[in-house]
């Protein structure tokens, strides 16, 4: 298809379309000079500015001598031998390749119906003698033609008749593909195929049809249809006024996509949301969306649709980020300045992703500026942050460097808790992105990322944890309708503990998980209504579960190295999106995972009729390096479908299952940075989940409001939990502590968003439940008598409101309100004395709840003035976190001190926390 080139620059608006009346006259001579050089000379000598694509000018050499010549004369002469045309618009000169920009309408501009059917022309407005394109506000006048199709019969009473035919380009006589033919009132339509053929069902009687296509005139026609019939149309290339183009892409995306449970976060708008301690945090914004929550305020890890926090695949440019948060979850580990998009899949997950049960957080860096040096920075109470974008090869390659660091250790000290007075905590992260557009069909991108946290809560121990990521991506467009996305990713998460106490047990401990993998994903357009996504991926996991080293000369700690774990997870996947008809579209896909746990390893076989323990080992198996210990095969099915009830209302459903082979080991109620990850092996089976969801999606007022209502039901098997009080770190036989049980979650999520206007934001409400069951025939492997009990993150009611009101372009007020049912906790049911000390006897797990949680935050944003030649554009954010000063209990716990029991409750931010941040952009 030939596309009429209209977008030379999206930002230029025209003051006039009439060619300049007094063109400037100049003298110029050049001999075999590059055309671009000539144009630049003209620019230098006149007020004209040229607009063109440099590719068009390559290798064109021109010669000529002009004295006191009109610029248009020069250009006429110079461009004569080229395929370029020009058009003078005020002081702008626009070059086009092949196409002419018309300033008058050609003859036969209006469509000519080449049909045998009778047609009459009717003028609905007066057409001026000459086409007027003077002012962009004036709409092109249109004449509506009326066609009568078919012969009326009285024996046939069909409710719909088929109208079909071909659409051709009047100038070239080529078919026009991808042209939309819309039925005005019913809001349905069809698209012409590659041959320009279309077929549309129309109700009997009068129908108003409209055609739409880029570069082709839009016409309205009246069709009075009596019976099935044909109508061929011949359309002209459009005289399109170059105008500012407001891209309002995918306004019906939420209604039309087939997948359920997808949340997108507008990174740019997230900067208006009130901040905690002045840090912009996309992940925190995510937790304000239905179905995504955290176990507590400022706690690390996310729970998506009642799933555990290890069930989220968090990808940063397609590399897995194991610990996406700094400082126990209070701050995001991702620099807000480098993020370009954040999409969270909690229902139907795209086929190329796998390996986690609950969700995929697809976080990508933004496209790096390739034309000029630019940057962004901020100074807040906790961190300073700077990101710069540096073009390397103009318009082709550029690099982005970003770094952020916490000033010092004062955050913890300012927490008003005596026990934290000796504490230290600091963090930093750095990102580097290189992008290279090799040509139209090849693009490469490389991303490197590093983050690190240091903290010390007691004076004898120091904790350090870090992430390291590397991602390489090559995107290739084949000549056919196929593209390839090839990705290589490496990621590593590690932590270390240094303990320096009084006894001879000082140690240094290290833990590391790393994965290296590649993925090749193809996307093919089989036909306009069928597309295919397919590919393969494979990753190698390596875990060093713990190295214990003596620290200092006196320490008699034995060097201990828990043997490393290895595994290979490989997948092949294919999925197809099929538009069955205008209304029904389905997406059906399958994914086959093969997980090989690899040696070297020593694995124990336990007596199946007794609880696992040292005494019940019946066999010990030795595996050599890279020998397969156990293979798990996981077939996954992912089906989703959409049915359009109207253009702005759809119903969607999805069904999928998934497998997970890597598990976070934690016996804490919330995520801790020193939680370790463990691979499935002989004794620890993969986790599995099945999810069904059904939703209704409605847009009102052309996307001014988006409403969705979605329900889900999810069950899972082999969810990992632990015997109460288990020791996990450095446990060589973790399978003796692990309990694997069933999970069950269901809920309804409601979201209304207002996307435009002075007031925008969203309101979400979720009702959901999450349960877990740990049953066994042995007492010690059973929790709560083997019945379902609420999980730590079961918070039935969850309301969140984010609203932003723009007073002017410069001032806006934003607010954020959250209400959640208090999470379940395990309470003491009595005291007892044992060994001279008093202890607390606890209830069954999660029998009680802490009080409900609510919090209101306010933020006020001030944009710097919009003067053009300022050094930097600035932006102030003043925010108050927890305006109501609500003392939301984060946890309730009981301490035995000197034989006495104390009941304590902790909260992280118990008073309003004000902060101010200065952001700048250059």
């Amino acid at each position: 298809m030939r596309i009429f080139i209209i977008m030379l620059s999206v930002l230029c608006t025209f003051s006039s379309l009439i060619a300049q009346e007094n063109p400037e006259r100049i003298s110029l001579s050049f001999e075999n000079e590059a055309l671009e050089k000539v144009l630049l000379d003209i620019e230098e000598k006149t007020n004209y500015r040229f607009y063109y694509s440099r590719q068009w000018l390559s290798d064109i050499k021109v010669s000529g001598i002009f004295s006191d010549a009109d610029v248009t004369e020069i250009l006429d002469a110079v461009l004569n031998k080229t395929v370029l045309n020009f058009y003078v618009l005020g002081s702008k000169i626009i070059l086009t390749q092949n196409n002419l920009i018309y300033d008058e309408l050609p003859d036969g501009f209006f469509g000519v119906g080449k049909d045998t059917v009778e047609h009459e022309e009717q003028e609905i407005t007066n057409i001026p003698q000459a086409p007027i394109l003077v002012n962009e506000k004036v709409k092109t006048q249109k004449r509506v033609e009326t066609y009568r199709i078919g012969k009326e019969t009285d024996y046939d009473n069909k409710s719909k008749y088929a109208l079909s035919g071909y659409v051709k380009n009047a100038k070239t006589n080529n078919p026009i593909p991808d042209l939309s033919i819309l039925l005005k009132d019913a809001k349905t339509g069809v698209v012409t195929d590659d041959e320009g053929y279309y077929s549309i069902l129309l109700p009997p009687g009068l129908n108003l049809l409209e055609t739409r296509s880029l570069g082709i005139e839009n016409i309205f026609i009246r069709v009075i249809i009596y019976n099935d019939g044909a109508l061929n149309l011949t359309l002209n290339e459009e005289v399109e006024q170059l105008d500012e183009v407001v891209l309002s892409a995918d306004i019906y995306e939420n209604v039309e996509e087939t997948d359920t449970g997808v949340e997108e976060i507008d990174i740019e708008e997230s900067k208006n949301i009130p901040l905690v301690l002045g840090e912009r945090d996309v992940l925190r914004v995510a937790t304000n969306l239905p179905g995504i929550s955290t176990a507590g305020e400022g706690s690390a890890g996310f729970n998506v649709r009642g799933g555990k926090s290890d069930q989220n695949l968090i990808l940063f440019d397609d590399a897995v980020l194991y610990s996406p948060q700094h400082f126990f979850g209070i701050f995001s580990a991702l620099n807000p300045f480098v993020l370009g998009s954040a999409t969270i899949y909690k229902g139907s997950i795209p086929i190329e992703y796998g390996g986690r049960l609950s969700s995929v957080f697809d976080l990508t860096t933004k496209e790096v500026e390739k034309e000029k040096f630019s940057g962004e920075g901020s100074v807040g109470p906790v961190t300073a942050n700077l990101a710069v974008e540096v073009p390397v090869i103009n318009e082709k390659a550029s690099v982005m460097l970003a770094g952020r660091g916490a000033y010092s250790n004062w955050i913890l000290r300012s927490l008003n808790d005596e026990s934290l007075n000796d504490s230290e905590a600091s963090f930093y992260d750095a990102t580097i992105v290189y992008e290279h557009k090799i040509n139209e069909n090849n693009q490469v991108k490389a991303t490197g990322y590093l983050s690190r946290d240091d903290f010390s809560i007691t004076s004898d121990s120091l904790y350090v944890y870090d992430n390291k990521l590397l991602s390489l991506n090559w995107n290739h467009q084949f000549k056919t309708k196929t593209s390839l996305d090839l990705n290589f990713a490496y990621s590593q998460y590690g932590f270390g503990i240094e303990f320096d106490g009084d006894a001879n047990n000082d140690f240094e401990l290290g833990y590391k998980v790393q994965e290296t993998g590649f993925r090749a994903k193809f996307k093919s357009l089989v036909s306009p209504s069928v597309s295919l996504d397919y590919g393969i991926s494979s990753k190698l996991y390596g875990i060093r579960p713990g190295d214990l080293e003596p620290k200092g000369g006196e320490s008699s700690v034995e060097r201990l190295s828990i043997p490393k774990e290895q595994a290979l997870e490989s997948s092949a996947f294919i999925s197809s999106t099929i538009d069955i008809n205008d209304k029904l579209s389905i997406d059906i896909g399958g994914r086959l995972n093969i997980f090989n746990a690899l040696g070297p390893s020593t694995q124990f076989v336990y007596d199946e009729n007794a609880p696992r323990g040292e005494e019940t080992v019946v066999d010990t198996l030795q595996f050599d390096d890279n020998e397969v210990i156990k293979t798990y095969i996981g077939p996954e099915l992912r089906v989703s479908g959409r049915y359009l009830l109207s253009e702005s209302l759809s119903v969607k459903a999805s069904l999928n299952n998934s497998y997970q082979y890597i598990h976070r080991l934690s016996n804490n109620t919330t995520v801790s940075p020193i939680d370790t990850w463990k691979l499935s092996d002989l004794n620890i089976e993969p986790q599995m989940a099945y999810q069904a969801s059904l939703g209704l999606y409605k847009n009102i007022n052309s996307n001014k409001y988006e409403i969705s209502l979605e329900g889900f039901y999810k069950t899972s098997d082999n969810i990992l939990d632990f015997k109460t009080g288990s020791q996990i770190l450095l446990n060589e036989n973790i399978e003796r502590e692990v309990l694997q049980g069933d999970g069950k979650a269901y809920g309804v999520e409601f979201l209304i968003r207002k996307n435009q206007g002075k007031l925008n934001g969203w309101l979400g409400y979720t009702y959901s439940r999450s349960f877990i069951k740990l049953d066994s025939e042995f007492d010690e492997e059973r929790v709560n008598n083997g019945e379902f009990f609420p999980s730590n993150f079961d918070k039935p009611h969850d309301i969140s409101l984010i609203a932003n009101y723009k007073f002017t372009r410069r001032f806006s007020l934003s607010t954020n309100f959250v209400y959640q049912t208090g999470r379940p906790v395990t309470f003491p049911i009595g005291n007892f004395n044992f060994g001279g000390s008093n202890f607390v006897a606890f209830s069954d797990r999660n029998q009680f709840r802490i009080p409900d949680f609510y919090r209101l935050d306010l933020g006020f944003n001030i944009e710097g003035n919009h003067k053009k030649n300022k050094l930097a554009h600035s932006f102030w954010t003043i925010s108050v976190y927890n305006v109501l000063g609500r003392n939301n209990p984060y946890s309730v716990f009981f301490v035995t001190e000197q034989g006495e029991i104390k009941a304590l409750q902790s909260s992280i931010f118990a008073i309003p926390v004000p902060s101010i941040t200065y952001n700048f952009k250059f």
Partner: protein
């Protein structure tokens, strides 16, 4: 770029009065059989509501231990909830023991079979001056112990501390007594008992564990057992500590660790998942009946050390005495209110310090001092312990 940020960030941890929402009375069993030849002790109690600190003994239960040689040792309740074996015996190597309990209301419980896992000895107990985490200067008692045979060994420590109490104003060899109230008559009589040097003691009330798991060799050096700040009056005079070391099983070690883990705040930001802690005792009458506690068979060894304050703190002032001393002076022949007051004070245990004399060496007044300063028996016992060494 200049930027001023003002921020106050307060997280908070505060104490609150907890109520146990659904109190359940659960039997608590504390039973440790050792290789010492003695009458062994088993303590039975029930849980009490959380807001209530008292101990609720379980009375009237029948308790017995049976060994794998079919010998049965019966226990009798000598005080509320405290059951002691009728005969003296000791746990023997290679013999399994099992505990049976039937409560007064007919519920019965039984433990798993247990035996001595290993023996060991306390190699050394040392006292060392340290400044602890909170910056407090004090003395730390450290134990070094080892096990015999094949490890790993799991140690639990208990201690009994005994310290001298020397009453600073118990110098007088005579006492003041009231022989007649009406008319008021006072007399001085020779002291009948030792009131200057006494001995007082205390026991550990926390669970002290260590193990050779992950360590090279059979022993653990310098496990901190006890810390005493340098201003604690128990250090003022001679001090002695007996450190007892139990070599116990992995299971009870795990049980104790679980108890301490879920009873202690370790980390403000990540709380350990608590829950009901299962021991090795279960109900035989109703499988759903909860029971807390553990029956353990362990070997025990101990070591005692003595030290004086100056041995540890050569350059620090002695700690103050346990109490401030209050002195009062009364005439030789008090009458009326003065006599009444003197009577009350002597009744409270005030002791004569001195008889003040006049110009002609005539007695003019009695000076008395508050009980703890005049008589050490208020703070301990004047019986010299058998083990005491000067």
């Amino acid at each position: 770029m200049l930027f001023i940020a003002f921020l106050n960030l307060y997280g908070c941890v505060e104490e609150f009065q907890a109520e146990s929402i659904a109190f359940e009375s659960i039997l608590v069993v504390e039973a440790m059989l050792t290789d010492e030849f003695k009458k062994h002790e088993i303590i039975l109690s029930t849980t009490t509501p959380i807001e209530n600190d008292s101990i609720a003994p379980e009375r009237g239960a029948s308790v017995s231990i049976t060994d794998s040689n079919q010998r049965q040792y019966l226990f009798e309740e000598i005080e509320d909830g405290k059951y002691v074996s009728i005969e003296e015996f000791n746990a023997e190597d290679g013999v399994d023991y099992q505990l049976d309990i039937t409560t007064a209301d007919g519920r019965s419980y039984q433990s798993n079979e247990k035996r001595i896992t290993a023996t060991g000895q306390v190699d050394e107990v040392t006292a060392r001056r340290v400044v602890n985490e909170n910056g407090t200067d004090g003395v730390e008692i450290l134990a070094t112990g080892s096990g015999n045979g094949e490890g790993p060994f799991f140690f639990r420590y208990e201690f009994e501390e005994t310290y001298q109490v020397i009453a600073p104003f118990a110098t007088s060899r005579i006492d003041l007594v009231i022989v007649s109230e009406n008319p008021p008559v006072l007399e001085t009589v020779p002291k009948m008992q030792e009131e200057r040097v006494c001995y007082s003691s205390g026991v550990s009330n926390s669970i002290i564990l260590s193990s050779t798991n992950n360590l090279i060799g059979d022993g653990v050096t310098n496990t901190p057992v006890h810390f005493i700040p340098n201003d604690n009056p128990i250090l003022r005079f001679r001090y002695s500590i007996l450190v007892k070391q139990f070599v116990q099983s992995r299971e009870i070690q795990a049980f104790y660790e679980t108890l301490s883990t879920i009873s202690d705040l370790d980390n403000l930001f990540a709380q350990i998942q608590p829950g009901f802690v299962e021991g090795n005792i279960s109900s035989t009458s109703d499988p759903n009946q909860k029971v807390l506690g553990f029956f353990e068979v362990a070997s025990v060894s101990s070591k005692r050390i003595f030290f004086n304050y100056r041995d540890i703190f050569p350059d620090v002032d002695f700690p103050r005495y346990f109490e401030d001393c209050v002195f009062r002076e009364f005439p030789i022949m008090p009458v009326g209110e003065e006599f009444e007051e003197l009577k009350v004070l002597l009744g409270l245990g005030y002791r004569l310090v001195a008889i003040n004399e006049g110009f002609f060496n005539n007695a003019v007044s009695y000076e008395i001092v508050s009980p703890a300063c005049g008589n050490c028996n208020n703070l301990g016992t004047n019986v010299v312990p058998d083990f005491w060494e000067e």
